[in-house]
Amino acid sequence: MIDLIEARKNQVYVNRKDSFNIECDKKSVAGSVSQRACVFCGSRVVLYPIADALHLIHGPIGCAAYTWDIRGALSSGPELHRMSFCTDLRENDVIYGGEKKLYNALISLIEKYNPKAAFIYSTCIVGLIGDDINAVCRKVSAEKNIPVIPVHSEGFKGTKKDGYRAACEALFTLTGFDNESEVPKHSINILGDFNLAGESWIIKNYYKEMGIDVVSCLTGDGRIDEIKKAHRASLNVVQCSGSMTFLAKLMKEKYGIPFIRVSYFGIEDLSEALYEVARFFKEKELIDKAAELVGRELSVIYPEITKFKSRLEGKKAAIYVGGSFKAFSLVKALRHLGMKTEVVGSQTGSKDDYDYLKEICDEGTIIVDDTNPLELSHFIEERGVDLLIGGVKERPIAYKLGIAFCDHNHERKIPLAGFEGMVNFCREVYSSVLSPVWKYSPAYRKRKGGTV
């Protein structure tokens, strides 16, 4: 058995073999080489896709450099979100304060780019040098007549999840403004889809076909004016629940909008996401349309999936992703391919999430919270896994061990949501697992009992 860091011993479980009371929702252990990022990262990824806003990072350059054009979040119009703006604080600013620099940066950038709103992200040292960001934002907002919203995302003030929360708070301040423009009868908001590789468009089209309009997608292909009227939708449909449930709760409290949690990955979860919205409006026609859509799409994709399944049946997988809802869907999606999940974990899962994960996973599946390369590689080797699903940071672990890899992170360029996304996902898995290259990998040969 693996020798875990003492403080992490309750963050790793073998399903239904160990007594299950997983520890999660805690800060990563110092020196553990966590795959998580920081509070700032959480805020930045959530707000990033809002395409007509100015995103200004208040701090030294690093935080801005690493998040320039980082997500595959597409826009159907403006692309201001793909620029990286930073106050680029220097030593004198750290000593004397960065408020003036922030003010000047905001004024000059707003004049140059005409954004509909501006988000100002605080980084670590801004929290230390005591800049009054709120005051600067208020001042600029009054002068330039656009919302200028501080995002309190100092890296050390919690985990990535706290960054999600700060982003939700920032978004919430934008809601409740537009009570004039027309909002259709059957209308929803999509929360927590980021339009990676155009996924929000796929989902919006499904709802449209059912007769349901999306008032605002938060934040995929996002626009400030849409967020301003989001409070007038009838239902909030939360996908990436780890990041956006907090906003849904705030909106429920203030505007009385109910919310449901869904996932657009995999057949069951996606179908349920469509049915559940249809059922919410309590009209038979909507439910019939959902059924028709699901039936039609399934008849198209099933034969394709069956082909992939015939080649993948019996293979074993490991999943390590940011959010736990995605992990649920992936466990189920892999079953359609006849693949068994041996290891599964997330960076930000909650206690409830892990309880559910335990329910849907087989006995013996290893469940991990906030894992690291040493643990992950150990479990992959121990279980003889054929496929790892993760992000860029996990990819070299898979390849060094001579196993297949599927990128399910926010940089992806291929849509994996929706029915067509399910086929793409299967093809991604298939084209990596069945590649002829593995037989040259020493680790693969060792696993198969051959000579290295």
Partner: protein, 447 residues
């Protein structure tokens, strides 16, 4: 007499699509070039994760960088406890030969005394694992500064004074793993014993494994770093390495050091090999004069593609300096030379090689783009980040340096010496030809 200039306090413009990366990235790269070393960043979790992701996307190798993972209370009361826990865990789990600590904006701003924390740790735990500490606040320097300061800190901490030995040091600035392999090959062809530091040629461009390695194999051995001060000569390439920074300067620790620019282009390569001959006392191996002459031959063959073509060079200062020199040799006019570094010496050097160029120091890509519009530029040479220029100006990009995360084989880009120059020359010529071919309706099949 000129009146003294009035000092006007100008507030700097915000960075728009930055040319700079942060100092801990440079330091981490150096630490990855030491055998069995694990880098540890003293700050927030995000610093190490972002840097890991960035480096992995370029090198396509595992890059483990630990973090002391500050909490709010650590930011208030100091990061001692976090650093000690982090050291316990990385030493326990990775069993490293060396831990390389780089600070971050956060730990520097609160004034953590990392050297003191390390002494306390060693005393308390009777730990014998050497620990190097390098200050890398990114409000004071960029990745190339962090790189240099880490090199200096390692030599300062690990190397001992000894009698002069019969070997040389080769200390390159931030180049590719392929370049590092080439430098080793050159030393070997000169039949000279050399310590190459840092050496991430294997750790960041490694082989396929039969089982998972906690720390990628390869790197400069600790006992080699320990003897660097006693080398009979040192070849230090990359002008950023010649300057002093937060860890002092390299020249304090080396005797008979040849500080020079990255060897790109005939002139700079000739200077480099002359220094090599002087440092080793051995003549240039025939193989390299042949490479040189083939390169000269290709200068003749390709000169018409290049003459008076207008180029933008953007990237790390060392690369910009040497590319400016090389481009001028082949008849390309560098019209804009841009770098994120704000160092006046770099500006002077660039101006020396590209006197007509608009030199933009401490710059960013959006400012470069504003400047470049209307300047009729023909090509860009720079990292993947310069694709922003290439796309907006509809001109080709020749990818060099770091990061290159929109193409394959970034670890194996050749930059240095006659061979690297040859490769860059071929790529520039082909980029120009391809652009002409693709933007013509004629369908040229000979060009």
């Amino acid at each position: 007499m000129k009146a003294p200039e009035k000092v006007i306090e100008k507030i700097a413009d915000p960075a728009r699509n930055t040319c700079r990366l942060c100092a801990p990235l440079g330091a981490s790269t150096v630490f990855r070039g030491i055998e069995n070393c694990i880098p540890l960043l003293h700050g927030s979790q995000g610093c190490s994760t972002y840097i890991r992701r960035y480096m992995i996307s370029h090198f396509r190798e595992p890059v483990d960088i630990a973090s002391s993972n500050f909490s709010e209370s650590a930011a208030v009361f100091g990061g001692r406890e976090n650093l000690h826990t982090a050291l316990d865990n990385v030493i326990g789990k990775y069993q490293p030969s060396l831990v390389g600590i780089a600070t971050t904006c956060l730990s520097e701003t609160i004034g953590d005394d990392v050297s003191l924390y390390i002494r306390e740790y060693n005393e308390k735990n009777k730990s014998e694992v050497p620990i190097v500490n390098v200050p890398t606040p990114s409000y004071k320097g960029i990745h190339t500064d962090g790189y240099r300061d880490a090199v200096i800190s390692c030599i300062k901490t690990v190397s001992k004074d000894n009698e002069t030995g019969d070997f040389i040091n080769i200390i390159p600035s931030f180049v590719s793993p392929e370049d590092l392999r080439h430098l080793k090959e050159i030393a070997s062809d000169f039949e000279t014993e050399a310590v190459l530091f840092p050496d991430y040629s294997e750790t960041l461009d490694g082989e396929s494994w039969d089982s998972y390695r906690k720390i990628s194999p390869g790197g400069t051995q600790l006992n080699d770093i320990a003897r660097m001060k006693s080398a009979k000569a040192s070849i230090v390439i990359g002008s950023s390495l010649s300057r002093s920074g937060l860890s002092g300067s390299l020249s304090e620790h080396l005797t008979n050091a040849h500080f020079m620019n990255l060897p790109i282009g005939i002139d700079l390569c000739d200077e480099f090999f002359a220094a090599f001959e002087k440092a080793t006392g051995k003549p240039l191996p025939e193989k390299y004069s042949a490479e040189r002459n083939r390169l000269v031959d290709s200068y003749m063959d390709a000169h018409k593609y290049f003459f008076e073509k207008r180029a933008i060079i953007a990237g790390d200062e060392d690369l910009v300096v040497s590319l400016a020199s090389f481009m001028s040799e082949i008849g390309i006019v560098p019209v804009i030379c841009a770098t994120g570094s704000d160092n006046p010496e770099a500006v002077k050097l660039i101006k020396k090689y590209a006197p007509d160029a608009e030199v933009m120091a401490d710059s960013d890509y959006a400012t470069v783009l504003d400047k470049a519009r209307g300047m009729n530029c023909d090509l860009v040479i720079g990292s993947s980040k310069a694709f922003y220029l290439s796309k907006n100006l509809s001109i080709p990009l020749v990818r060099v340096g770091f990061p290159v995360h929109d193409r394959f084989g970034s670890q194996r880009i050749k930059h240095l010496c006659y061979r690297g120059t040859q490769s860059i020359l071929d790529n520039i010529a082909n980029a120009i030809i391809e652009h002409k071919q693709n933007s013509s309706n004629i369908g040229y099949s000979y060009l």
